[in-house]
């Protein structure tokens, strides 16, 4: 998980928190002091780990590293952008929906008609 405090606490209550030896966790709590570099490093680490199947990332956090999220295209771990308490979910920014929306663009419709 890469999300705000409340979201992380909630999902930890649901039992998804994992702490390995050397205090390595499977979550990063993002607050006002978290840098973009820290978020990028956490994203790269979680997507490279073989014991992680799904990465939950608040959409407003994903927007900070949008290039990295959009360029990720492996099936596992799956990247799921979730809403946060203070930022509503916007389908226009979702990386999966951005990937498939070209099917509805004028260009693809025009090329299909040729």
């Amino acid at each position: 998980m890469i999300a705000d405090e409340d979201t992380v606490v909630g999902f930890l209550l649901a039992g998804v928190g994992n702490v390995e030896l050397l205090r390595k966790t499977n979550y990063l709590i993002v607050d006002s002091k978290t840098t973009v570099k820290q978020i990028e490093d956490a994203f790269k680490e979680f997507t490279a780990r073989e014991d992680i199947a799904v990465v939950l990332i608040s959409q407003y956090v994903a927007n900070m590293i949008r290039f990295l999220v959009d360029s990720y295209n492996k099936p596992v771990p799956a990247i799921l952008e979730i809403p946060s308490k203070d930022h509503l979910y916007d389908p226009a920014h979702d990386s999966v929906l951005s990937r498939v929306k070209y099917l509805f663009s004028a260009e693809s419709v025009a090329s299909g008609r040729r």
Binding site: F11, L13, A14, V16, V19, V54, V76, I82, K85
Partner: protein
């Protein structure tokens, strides 16, 4: 008459080829339509699930805020999180659909509240659920049936006890006595997890259907 026969044969052969090509084209169009339909259905389901997730998360955040209000900010805080070694109680099982050999579509299954060394409790696959779905036989050899039923009930209650123990363990990070709102928040986020697993599966299906549509469009352009 003899010169006309080879000409007729050629025409017949050409007609057969054209007919075969038309049939092939029709089959491709039908397959393309099916792929597009699957893609649209999965896209619609994905958006619906995201909406449902938003609603569940809002409830969870509200319960968490209520718990923080009744227990105090210092008691519901990430500072209390334990950084000692412990595995996740809830995990995901990733499998590949056996029927789709040429596809990389993964399938995610939630394993809720299983601790290491204990039997895994799969979502929707508990023995007690299976027993409820199957029709119960009439009591003829009374004692044997009674023993089997008791054994199933014991297993089910053992699993329920285990789930409760794991839930309490998770809550105990925030103290021995916790607000009912914190328990409610826990349930909300558990529900959110179930929705997230459905979203993950729908995402896989959608991307797989999209790849097929994209590939067929590329093939048709040449």
């Amino acid at each position: 008459m003899e010169q006309e026969t080879p000409i007729l044969e050629n025409v017949e052969q050409e007609l057969a080829i054209v007919e075969q090509q038309q049939r092939q084209q029709l089959a491709e169009e039908v397959e393309q339509s099916a792929n597009v339909l699957q893609f649209m259905d999965s896209l619609d389901a994905y958006l619906t699930l995201i909406h449902s997730l938003s609603s569940t998360l809002r409830q969870g955040w509200l319960d968490l805020a209520s718990a923080r209000h009744s227990m105090g900010v210092s008691r519901v805080n990430t500072v209390l999180l334990d950084h000692k070694f412990h595995p996740a109680s809830t995990s995901l099982l990733v499998t590949q659909d056996e029927e789709k050999v040429d596809s990389m579509e993964p399938h995610f299954t939630l394993c809720k509240w299983a601790s290491s060394g204990n039997e895994k409790l799969l979502l929707g696959e508990t023995q007690s659920d299976q027993d409820k779905l199957q029709p119960q036989p009439r009591r003829r050899g009374g004692s044997q049936l009674y023993e089997e039923k008791t054994s199933h009930e014991n297993k089910a209650s053992h699993q329920v006890d285990q789930v409760q123990r794991e839930r309490c363990k998770s809550l105990s990070v925030f103290g021995t006595l916790v607000s009912p709102k914190l328990r409610a928040a826990q349930l909300s986020f558990e529900t959110a997890l179930e929705t997230l697993v459905e979203i993950a599966n729908m995402r896989s299906t959608m991307l797989c259907a999209f790849d097929k549509v994209h590939k067929m469009q590329g093939d048709s352009k040449g």
